[in-house]
Symmetry: C2
Subunit: 170 residues, 2 copies
């Protein structure tokens, strides 16, 4: 499967994975949320190769997650800042960080702590239902096919069918 086919899958997870589902994109976005904006700063703080960094920044701009803003003329230089679409990735970043805090820390404890300025306390993110406000868990959620679903299968029908077809033609 190629990357570009991923963003056309009838699945919101697959399409999002096309944007952030590689080793570096999420790390770059973490830096963005920590106020890093410039090429060399990304490069220094991540240790990513310049080649890959240029490529990933281009991709994130193409997807509308980052925007290039000039911060000086002559020579023309740009900063990369999060768009609203990019800022909306915050719950993804936070849920990933939280899982790491719970399941991947070593004896020394959490690398970062988060303070909620609104209430002044250190907090963890909690995912709740938009309708009743209760915390969510997988077993209390039922999945239905939506208007954008393919055929009868709620799950990823295109890949299933693609596989069937190639099995038939063999």
């Amino acid at each position: 499967m190629k990357w570009d086919t991923l963003e056309e899958e009838p699945c919101s997870l697959a399409r999002t994975v096309a944007v952030i589902g590689d080793r570096w994109s999420l790390l770059i976005l973490r830096e963005c949320f920590l106020r890093i904006r410039r090429f060399d700063d990304f490069q220094a703080s991540l240790g990513i190769t310049r080649h890959l960094l240029a490529d990933r920044l281009k991709k994130l701009v193409r997807f509308g997650v980052l925007r290039k803003i000039p911060y000086q003329e002559a020579p023309k230089r740009y900063e990369y800042i999060l768009t609203q679409k990019g800022l909306d990735l915050y719950p993804i970043i936070m849920s990933i960080v939280h899982w790491g805090n719970v399941h991947m820390v070593d004896a020394r404890g959490r690398p970062l702590l988060h303070e909620h300025k609104t209430c002044g306390k250190m907090f963890d993110p909690v995912m709740v239902c938009s309708e009743c406000g209760e915390p969510l868990s997988a077993k209390h959620v039922h999945v239905h096919p939506g208007p954008g679903a393919r055929r009868s299968s709620p799950v990823h029908a295109s890949a299933r069918e693609r596989t069937k077809r190639s099995a038939e033609s063999a």
Copy 2:
């Protein structure tokens, strides 16, 4: 940077990315949450190559996200099911799906809808503060170095230092 160095970074995001930060792991986990458990079912529904699927399942088992459970003897066959550590990935999956629902759907609409059995309504996931219950946004969160932070830099100091050292030695 190699994959194994990633899981030792003093950053909960980097360590989680070491587990789920590739094209296929998240798609495999989506299938797990949709009750897929067997090798050929994963392969058929995702279109992933058998080689990579075997590799990724092994990795997810090694990280304790999935567990191999025998479902028949002779020939010995296993199912892959989510551990508690794996079930805890649900907020990550849901926040990714939700972002895709908001930002990546085409004209036909959402592929899937989610019903909260507890309240009976179709819902979206919302991330809130564990302390005050208010919805979270990046600008209301302040980051502090925690006990597991490296040196003065709250962010990923090891990579920064590694880069500095190689620049100095050059």
